[in-house]
Amino acid sequence: MNDKILLAHGSGGQLAHDLIRNSFLPALDNPVLSPLDDSATFEADGKLAFTTDSYVVQPIFFPGGNIGKLSVCGTVNDLAMAGAVPRYLSLAFIIEEGLLTNDLERVINSIKETAEAAGVNIVTGDTKVVDRGCADKLFINTAGIGIVPPGVNISGHHAQPGDVIILSGTIGDHGIAVLSQREGLNFMTKLESDCAPLNGLVAEMLGISAGIRCLRDPTRGGLASTLNELAEQSGVSISIEEAKIPVREEVAGACEMLGLDPLYVANEGKLVAIVDRKDAEAILEQMQKNEYGQNAAIIGEVREKHRGRVTMKTSFGTSRIVDMLVGEPLPRIC
């Protein structure tokens, strides 16, 4: 095996076949993938959910994960947020010439482990190699198909005044873990990305309550942007309490130093649920039993007035508006 990925690995010729046979298939093989026909074919019943996302994280390896794990979790989570049971994923690589083969295999291995943990199969894929400088090491696109169980009807449009907002755990872990790596801000070594598949947690939540109205994973833009989206879509306002939002001490500290607000920092293993008030405590209890929901907390409620607005009661007893993220959060200058 060559040490580095060459342009020829994306040619469709011998090297490309070797790459598939030696690197991809051993890790990802399953009955739908193994015929290696132009399309994967499978039976499906009922209502389907279908989503896609591209992953360009830099650096491709970060504390708590890598671009491969992220590309599975992200798509699995998008399916889960529709209440769907994720089943099949596509996997497309755009590789910059010169990527270490060893790095590619680490990524593939991580995809294998994460897909197994999430109970999904990679059923179709593609590899392209571009000239050095035309991509940044490795970009991945995944698309996913899931099956929505009968009776499940989840959407960002369904929040109603009186509903309760549950957050599945601490915010900002992913964004700060990646940022600390990217900018060489090595002031915290313990902090890891929260990157995780949440379909198991969602299935458990759906198992105990039919009162789950909205689910969303607060990725880029953070919790603040997700709550604004939900308030806008449902035509309601949302009120949260600062003191109830779980934030790790090191994330809060790093944000303070960098001039960032944890409310706007990305997560990759968290969800926001808007649920019927009468089921809220039971759902919360269920969530806290799952490893990805241990720190779940009720952080606020849905209200009727001032549609589309999110407000927060600060720990000082005052209140303020929480707006959408504008642009990329930039570090302060003084």
């Binding site: 900018e183 002031f187 915290m188 003191a243 001490e249 090191e250 809060a252 500290g253 790093a254 303070e256 130093m257 001039g259 001032h306 600060t314 720990s315 000082f316 007893g317 005052t318 209140s319 303020r320 508006i321 707006d323 504008v326 642009g327 930039l330 570090p331 302060r332 200058i333 003084c334």
Partner: protein, 363 residues
């Protein structure tokens, strides 16, 4: 890292607030000079805790915001030169100049890099010896010593492709300028904490002595600010005017003499243009003659466009403490963080951005 929790003990708030209410029996207008203070005041909704006798007014303490359009246009023009890398703090990129911004200059092919410190800019100069690296020197006394240190370092290393566009500003002279204008009537000044960590508290003494205005140097945590307001309210109640330091963990009267010496070694005071305020004597820093070879303004030929300020933008009045962002007809209608008309809506320390992001006001 307990950077946050130990400074945000909300159980201390009621005691401070009740003490402020007790002392603040007389009407007083207090200016928070620094944009960082404005942000904290808005983010924690501190106005909601104050008695109606106290009014807080934002001052010109946002280095990005007070940068004059003509100076912004210079930075943008430099970014358009061939074989030049412009290195800037991130906040500057989106600030609109007369017709463009550094961000647009970058999109048009200019090589503009965001750096986190002058050390990054020096690294750029070392690794790109065939290009000229120009650092856009924006900031107050807090930032200027690090820029001065980078110039000393470049001189030691013999780096001949590193330059600085010095747009630095000094805080005490501009306060003097504002007070001398007679436009504002203050009964208290919350002095900037980070600036004072460098210059100390003594440079503020003329404000208490000559203008009879109580001054308190404040930190940036919400409790710091409440404590500073309490100290100001006490001075007002007792008819006193002196300089006190609430931010003792960061500031002493003499300041950081090493930083001051480095700054003075490289820079000399010079007149500077402030957006909305105009030229203020001795309120800027230019490179001393022996460091002129690092001065971007003297070593590059560039043409800047005719300076234009967008009609209706009242950033200037806001920076002088004359008006609040919500009094601007453009605020939140035309001018938003996505489409900023003036710099106060761009910078993370800008008053308009703070009011927009956290305000009770864009209903």
């Amino acid at each position: 890292m307990k950077l946050v929790s130990e400074f945000r003990q909300s159980e201390l708030v009621p005691g401070l607030v009740s003490s402020i209410r007790h002392h603040a029996t007389r009407e007083a207008r207090i200016m928070e000079f620094c944009g960082g203070h404005t942000v904290a005041i808005m983010k924690f909704g501190l106005r909601q805790l104050l008695p109606p006798t106290l009014t807080l007014t934002s001052g010109p303490g946002c280095p990005v915001c007070v940068t004059d359009n003509a100076d912004l246009d210079k930075a943008i023009a430099l970014a358009g030169l061939p074989n030049v890398i412009v290195a800037s703090f991130g906040d500057m990129l989106r600030v609109p100049g007369s017709s463009s911004s550094l961000q647009e200059a970058k999109a048009a092919g200019g090589d503009v890099r965001i750096v986190y410190s002058t050390l990054d800019a020096l690294t750029l100069a070392r690794t790109n010896p065939e290009k000229s690296v120009i650092f856009i020197g924006i900031g107050f006394e807090t930032t200027a010593p690090t820029v001065a240190a980078s110039i000393l370092q470049a001189a030691r290393e013999g780096l001949n492709n590193y330059y600085v566009l010095s747009l630095h500003k000094l805080c005490p002279p501009v306060i003097k300028g504002l007070l001398d204008s007679g436009e504002i009537n203050l009964q208290g000044l919350i002095c900037p904490g980070h600036v004072s960590a460098i210059i100390g508290s003594r440079p503020w003494e003329f404000i208490a002595r000559d203008y009879g205005i109580p001054c308190v140097v404040s930190g940036f945590e919400p409790l710091d600010i409440l404590q500073s307001i309490e100290m100001l309210a006490q001075q007002v109640a007792r008819d006193e005017a002196r300089v006190e330091i609430a931010y003792r963990r960061g500031v002493n009267p003499e300041g950081n003499t090493i930083a001051i010496n480095i700054m003075e070694q490289v820079f000399a005071p010079a007149p500077a243009r402030w957006r909305g305020i105009g030229e203020v004597a001795s309120s800027g820093l230019r490179l001393r003659p022996e460091f002129e070879r690092f001065d971007a303004e003297l070593n590059f030929e560039f043409e800047t466009e005719v300076t234009v300020i967008r009609e209706g933008c009242i950033c200037g009045d806001i920076l002088r403490g004359m008006k609040s962002p919500t009094q601007c007809a453009l605020f939140s209608r035309v001018c938003t963080p996505i489409n900023p008309v003036g710099p106060c809506m761009v910078s993370s320390e800008g008053s308009c951005a703070a009011y927009y992001n956290y305000g009770e006001s864009h209903e």
